[in-house]
């Protein structure tokens, strides 16, 4: 009888702030995946400022090297080992051989820990943790300087800067300890983060971008060439195609605000149109700001679909 459903217990509320998502959901990765992942690297631009003492990313600068690229006149202090004696014999000018320089870069991984990331199935926060873990592992494995910063209404306690694979375990623990936050302010967080890290770097934002303040103000301060920004837009299939019907009272997971609606076909079509325009607007904004934009659905398997997708979008090489 339906009577027993009248006083049925309501569905479980989203996780409260402060409770970790992933501790009871198993490890983020297995070792085999990490070994396969190690063969990849983050695609960083030459324009980024890095430290040539380590790292594997190509640098815009030229340094004296045995691998010839071009010459420049010898100046006092240059290492005589890089003097091109053959050129000196032909041209009677002492020239030094210059070659490609490699550098490490600052990799900033910003993970949205707002409560909206904890709604849906599978959880977007889980996928965000996996993505940040994978990208962070790549950064550490390739000697980049890694910063991991979860954020809600503001940037929380962050991880890094860290360099070297020895910090991987620490990284994973940090990521697993990220707890949902009550709400989110993407633009404010990005702007504040840009001011705190003037040296720039490769910035990856993992977020559902469901924030009232938009994205444009934050991206304005993350302009190239100092910054290379990747926006990984985590989407839930239910956000795009909500399988709801009838009279409903929708409650915002972050603000608690409620909206009474009777969902019929016309309303759902209008919602789908609004969601499409919202995504297209974000994509246009990113393109205008020189930001790479990659929408990712939360139910995509990480290794089989997300990583190849990022590889195809040249976010990974």
């Amino acid at each position: 009888m339906w009577f027993k459903t009248i006083f049925r217990r309501k569905p479980m509320a989203p996780r409260k702030p402060g409770s970790a998502v992933t501790r009871s959901d198993g490890p983020l990765f297995d070792e085999a995946f990490l070994r396969r992942l190690e063969r990849m690297s983050l695609q960083a631009q030459r324009t980024l400022r890095g430290n040539p003492s380590s790292g594997e990313h190509p640098s815009r600068r030229r340094l004296p090297t045995t691998i010839f690229s071009e010459h420049r006149p010898y100046t006092r202090g240059d290492d005589v080992r890089y003097v091109d004696w053959n050129a000196y014999a032909r041209q009677e000018h002492v020239l030094v051989k210059l070659g490609e320089a490699e550098q490490d870069v600052h990799v900033h991984l910003l993970i949205d820990a707002s409560r909206s990331m904890s709604v849906g199935h599978p959880l977007r926060l889980r996928l965000a943790q996996q993505l940040v873990g994978a990208l962070g592992y790549l950064a550490l494995a390739h000697s980049d300087r890694l910063h991991v910063a979860p954020f809600g209404p503001e940037v929380l306690r962050s991880f890094g800067p860290a360099q070297g694979k020895s910090r991987v375990i620490e990284l994973f623990r940090f990521i697993e300890g990220i707890a949902p936050q009550p709400d989110t302010r993407v633009a404010a967080v990005l702007a504040g983060y840009a001011r705190q890290h003037p040296q720039g770097g490769l910035l990856v934002v993992c977020s559902d971008l469901l924030a009232p303040d938009g994205l444009e103000e934050g991206l304005r301060l993350l302009a190239p060439p100092r910054w290379q920004v990747l926006v990984l837009h985590l989407l839930d299939q239910r956000d795009l195609d909500p399988r709801l019907q009838g009279p409903l009272e929708l409650e915002d997971s972050e603000t608690g605000q409620r909206l009474a609606l009777t969902l019929d076909d016309a309303t759902l079509r209008a919602y789908a149109r609004a969601a499409r325009e919202w995504r297209e607007g974000i994509a246009r904004l990113c393109a205008r700001r020189g930001v790479r934009y990659a929408p990712i659905l939360s139910h995509w398997p990480l290794e089989r679909q997300v990583i190849p997708y990022l590889h195809a979008r040249r976010l990974l090489s």
């Binding site: 009888m1 709604v119 849906g120 009838g246 409903l248 609606l261 019929d264 919602y271």
Partner: protein
């Protein structure tokens, strides 16, 4: 269909509760979404914003059906099998008062309208039932009872006539309930013009045991009537004062005349003017020689019968008395003072058994009791007519028996010395009216053809004859031993218990229409005379072929409670619950079927819900 427990219908209050629960169920389901950011961009149609609108679902209808069935079942409904062709027992109470002679709206009299309606009911009642015909005239009477459609009932119905003044509806209902007691499907139908000012009083608080349906015939009618007509004769041969009251039961003022006739001779014509619902009182003084009066109102109204009133003026019945005494002086004086008494005095030696209405023996008794009234005073001890008793010891203490209360009421006998009394043993059936020390002083009994009273004391040796009580006691004894005069008037339909001369064997009653009906007089000297028609009745008492007495009675139809033809409110049609036994026979309970149907619906709903759930699992 009837409900045995109507309070069970309160269970139907569950219906709105179910609707409320469904509205609760239809309340918007709360869904937590990541953000309302996108939802707020959706243009919302009016229909989409509409809230708390109850949708009519199959489940709701089934629940309402189940609740309604169970609620009805709690009220314990039952089919009345009589409504489906069962036996119906009907009691038809027809008002036969004089007012039913007034015209009915459809033409004809109200009684004819009632007759037509009754005939229709006779033909409509179900087969196998019975109909009892009861008239509610001055006295309620069961006319006949037979099966439905009986020709005998139709014939009895056709013979109904207005029976007189007054309608004993309450008595008729009691008769009907008694007739219908224990019969299934019983019903009483009352056909009346409701011109009964005292109906509400008569039926007030009555709880009928049988359902009663009232059908009112006739409407508002104006009427004028002589509702009172009386005379007060003066002592001696003086004139007689006559009084009449005329009432206008109408909505308009009336100017008319009242004519007074004395022995069919016009004595006076009196113009009268009456306001609506007004009345006029009239008086006349007429000579004593007139024996019969008639007043006529020039009414020209709906009920002519009450426009006429008649009145007999014979206040006293003539008594021929014979006094047989050696010393008659005191008795003679007392007897001659009795109005209407014609006295003959003789000595015992002269007595040869002469016929008289009243014979008084003083100190003497004949060999046999004469016919008529007999008063034996101080009878001799050696008489063969009376057994001698035992002499009582001397005592002044007398005992009045309850039977003598009417004789001695208001008469002071405290200072009376009764003197010595003859010890008398009264015969069987005699009533002792006064005794002393267990010995009867005054005793009375009825013998064939005679009414006898014995005064056992000796008037000459006591002081009774010197007391004021003596002529009073003599006059009352004369009236006790002789019958009274017939009443001056009576209401139509009234039944008169006529006390006749002890010698009378037959009373011949001649109605106004000239029909003469002989009535036998019972051994107690009583005859019941019913005055069915308004007019002049003549009563003649006969002893064999001898005419003993003749009197005239004016029978009138006008009465304050009958002549007002305007209908009064009748009680609402009452559907009394039939007795338990009858209920069980005539009713088929419905509640088990309703409960069974509700269970079937619940089972169907359960199957429907679970089938849908299983289908959902299979698809999932």
């Amino acid at each position: 269909m009837s409900l045995l427990a109507p309070l069970g219908l309160l269970a139907l209050l569950a219906l709105p509760l179910i609707v409320f629960l469904h509205m609760l169920r239809e309340r918007r389901r709360r869904v937590i979404v990541p953000s309302l950011l996108l939802w707020q961009l959706v243009p919302q149609s009016r229909a989409a914003r509409q809230r708390r609108r109850l949708s009519i679902t199959l489940l709701l209808l089934l629940h309402l059906l189940v609740a309604a069935l169970l609620g009805l079942a709690l009220a314990r409904p039952q089919w009345d099998l009589i409504s489906f062709g069962g036996q119906r027992h009907l009691a038809l109470v027809i008002d036969t008062s004089i007012s039913m002679a007034a015209p009915a709206p459809g033409g004809g009299s109200r009684l004819e309208a009632a007759r037509s309606r009754a005939q229709a009911l006779l033909g409509r009642s179900g087969a196998g039932g019975s109909i009892t015909l009861i008239t509610a005239g001055p006295q309620a009477r069961v006319i006949d009872s037979d099966r439905t459609g009986s020709a005998r009932l139709v014939s009895a119905l056709a013979g109904l006539q207005p029976a007189g003044v007054g309608s004993d509806i309450a008595g008729a209902l009691t008769l009907a309930e008694a007739v219908l007691q224990g019969r299934p499907g019983a019903q009483i139908v009352v056909l009346t013009d409701a011109a009964l000012p005292t109906l509400a009083t008569e039926l007030g608080g009555r709880r009928p045991a049988v359902p009663i349906r009232w059908e009112t015939l006739g409407g508002e009618l104006d009427n004028r009537a002589i509702v009172a007509f009386a005379a007060r004769p003066r002592p001696g041969a003086g004139p007689v004062q006559v009084y009449a009251r005329v009432v206008n039961y109408g909505s308009g003022a009336l100017r008319t005349v009242v004519r007074l006739y004395g022995d069919d001779t016009l004595l006076d014509t009196r113009p009268v003017t009456m306001q609506p619902d007004g009345e006029v009182e009239l008086t006349w003084t007429v000579p004593r020689s007139i024996e019969f009066l008639r007043a006529e109102l020039d009414g020209d109204d709906a009920l002519p019968a009450d426009d006429r009133a008649e009145l007999g003026l014979a206040a006293y019945r003539p008594v021929r008395a014979l006094l047989v005494s050696e010393q008659p002086a005191a008795l003679e004086r007392a007897l001659r003072a009795v109005p209407g008494l014609e006295l003959t005095v003789m000595a015992p030696s002269e007595y040869r058994g002469a016929a008289a209405d009243l014979t008084v023996f003083d100190g003497f008794l004949p060999a046999a009791w004469p016919s008529g009234g007999v008063l034996a005073i101080h009878p001799p001890r050696d008489s063969a007519l009376l057994s001698a008793g035992v002499a009582a010891p001397p005592s002044d203490e007398v005992t009045f028996t309850p039977a003598g209360a009417a004789l001695f009421e208001g008469i002071s006998l405290g200072a009376v010395e009764w003197g010595p009394a003859t010890p008398v043993t009264p015969p069987a059936g005699a009533t002792t009216l006064l005794s002393r020390a267990g010995q009867p002083l005054i005793v009375r009994w009825q013998a064939p053809g005679s009414t006898i009273a014995v005064w056992a004391f000796d008037l000459a040796r006591g002081n009774l004859t010197t007391r004021l009580a003596f002529p009073l006691l003599v006059a009352r004894t004369v009236r006790d031993l002789t019958p009274p005069a017939v009443p001056a008037s009576a209401l139509a339909g009234a039944t008169l218990s006529l006390r006749t001369d002890p010698r009378a064997t037959t009373v011949e009653v001649t109605a106004p229409d000239g029909t003469a009906t002989p009535l036998a007089v019972d051994p107690g000297g009583q005859a019941l005379v019913t005055f069915g028609q308004p007019g002049r009745y003549t009563l003649v008492e006969l002893a064999g072929g001898e005419r003993l007495y003749s009197g005239q009675v004016g029978v009138n139809a006008g009465a304050a409670f009958e002549s007002d033809l305007r209908p009064r409110p009748v009680p609402e049609t009452v559907a009394a619950p039939p007795p338990r036994g009858e209920r069980e026979e005539a009713a088929q309970p419905l509640w088990p079927w309703l409960v069974a149907l509700a269970l079937v619906v619940i089972l169907g709903e359960w199957v429907y819900v679970h089938a849908r759930r299983l289908r959902g699992f299979a698809e999932g």
